[in-house]
């Protein structure tokens, strides 16, 4: 398939466009999506599909999410945009008590095929209510699938898979990735859920990360390589389902693990991965599992402070070096 270099945001736009062309039951709803949304991701879609399918909504997260659940039960496949992942808490009931549980509570007889797209993460100087990484707490509510791409290619392939999935999918889009360029196939193209990408091969240490932090790990890996340490980067791409096998296989190969995420280290998903490795891969380890995450605090505003908050390649490098 033909590939060309496009932005991460264009890759998402293209996935939406192709799926809406393919399936008349797919539509989008969200705040200001007609004019493209806060990050321009839906630019131009209204010209092709009109306001009937690119539905701008009032500032009403509760009914944006909740109506999608009802519409999905009634046969539609809504893709809703929650402007910032921080606002998922405004529609917490609809997300957690309704969408995630209906298939199960109704004995497997109902399906809720919705996709919840949400810009996430820190770095755009948006302060504590517009910069969080809430994936870990959502993982603790069974019923969702959770995708978190780190490249334009995965953004397109995972989003198409998400739209075709019969379960509610939370699709995190790290804001710092929107302007990343990368090669993306032009046509119909999917990335399977639950299949990690080995972003870089290496024999000395395994770095496990997702979203924007994968790119920070890649930077760190280049610097480590100059010092003779070859890091392998495992990007799970979806946190639910999680590719445990790929993680364990890499740990078996390297014997050392550093888990990196942007959310605070305490209570982050890294703790779960570390525990899983301790339970199922203890014999592979020749050093303690290390976690790198943000400090236990809200995201600060000042660029100087925010830069200190977000895990950097230097933090990752020093965490890795302590293992050698």
């Amino acid at each position: 398939m033909e590939e060309r270099s496009i932005w991460f945001s264009q890759a998402i736009n293209e996935a939406l466009q192709q799926e809406m062309r393919r399936d008349p039951n797919v539509y989008m709803a969200g705040e200001d999506i007609g004019p493209g949304g806060a990050f321009g991701v839906t630019n131009g879609l209204i010209d092709e599909f009109g306001p009937e399918r690119i539905m701008g909504t009032p500032i009403s997260e509760t009914v944006i999410l909740g109506h999608a659940v009802g519409a999905a039960l009634a046969g539609m496949r809504p893709v809703v945009e929650i402007l910032f992942s921080d606002f998922l808490f405004v529609c917490g009931d609809e997300l957690i008590n309704q969408a995630a549980k209906m298939h199960f509570m109704f004995g497997g007889k109902a399906k809720v095929p919705i996709v919840v797209r949400c810009p996430s993460g820190a770095g755009v100087r948006a302060a504590a209510q517009h910069s969080q990484s809430p994936e870990a707490m959502l993982i603790n509510f069974p019923g969702f699938k959770i995708a978190y791409p780190s490249t334009p290619r995965d953004a397109k392939g995972l989003l198409i898979t998400a739209i075709r999935d019969d379960n509610p999918v939370i699709f995190f889009e790290h804001k710092m990735l929107y302007w990343m360029m990368g090669d993306v196939p032009e046509g119909d193209f999917t990335v399977e859920f639950g299949k990690a990408d080995i972003r870089r091969e290496g024999k000395d240490v395994t770095l496990i990360s997702w979203g924007q932090m994968v790119n920070t790990c890649a930077e760190a890996a280049e610097a480590l390589s100059a010092d003779g340490i070859e890091a392998e980067i495992v990007d799970p791409r979806t946190l639910v389902p999680f590719d445990k096998e790929a993680v364990l296989a890499s740990v078996k190969k390297t014997g050392k693990v550093v888990i990196v995420h942007e959310a605070p280290k305490t209570g982050g998903f890294g703790g779960e991965i570390a525990a899983m490795i301790a339970e199922e891969g203890f014999d592979y380890l020749d050093a303690p599992v290390v976690r790198v995450g943000a400090p236990y605090m809200p995201v600060p505003f000042s660029p100087v402070l925010e830069d200190a908050y977000i895990p950097s390649s230097d933090t990752i490098i020093s965490a890795v070096k302590k293992l050698f």
Partner: protein
Amino acid sequence: MAKEKDTLLTLYETMYKIRRFEEKASELFADSLIPGFVHLYIGQEAVATGVCSNLSDKDFIASTHRGHGHVIAKGADVKLMMAELFGKKDGYCKGRGGSMHVADVEKGILGANGIVGAGQPLATGAALACKKKKTGGVAICFFGDGASNRGTFHESINLAALWKLPAIYVIENNYFGEFCPIEESCSVQKLSVRAAAYGIPGVTVDGNDVMAVREAAAKLIERARKGEGPSILECLTWRHRGHFEGDPADYKPSEQQEEWLAKDPIPRFRSHLIDKEKIASETVLEIEERVNAMIEAAVEFAKNSPDPDQSGLLEAVYA
């Protein structure tokens, strides 16, 4: 005329079926055969029955934690319901949901719901699906006076009015939200006036008069089917029991309780059928006996249904 008489008898049968199902559920709960919580609809049967008598399978309803009446009126099978209340394998949800989550999406039943007000966005979305798919269907959202204070109420009705969705929001005003009287929870006592805030019709009817509910709902459903948008139907009614079985409901003033028991929609409609419509009492008795047998059969079915297999604990978390 024969058709009209059939309609009247069907209305009576539905109300009576809801009543008997719940009286039975109350007994079985007291005997510890039904686990968990049971919230009874006894006293409010005319609302679900009157509204749903205007619906077919292409229409949707969203219900509440007090949902038995709504789902029976929408055509749910009482055998599968009773088995679900027992937590059995043959229940509607294979024992995964219980009383508060009975659902049958094929029949347009989007589920009872354990969260007060949660049905409002769901019905709004189902109404959007009806409009998009041009099925001519409508979505009915049942909820109580208590749920009319939720933020979901405002967001849902604002959106439905904005998008002219075929949705009817039915407020069953039974004067109590859980234990709290309406005077202490609602800024206005006549809840249909809230419709004015959305520029949509708001109608209040005697919710214990099944024909009045049916007719009022018919008009609002008709305009929704024609694309004229949503509306609010407030039905004034009374729950005879506590918030849940086991709640002695001491907070309800006894004079008010007496007054409303005298307005019980079922004996009231029964007398109307016999005295005004000149239907033979034998015909009514025949319906009652048939329903009694149906409920007994449902209980037997539930008792005989196996428990879910523990080996299947993890089933149906994902589609």
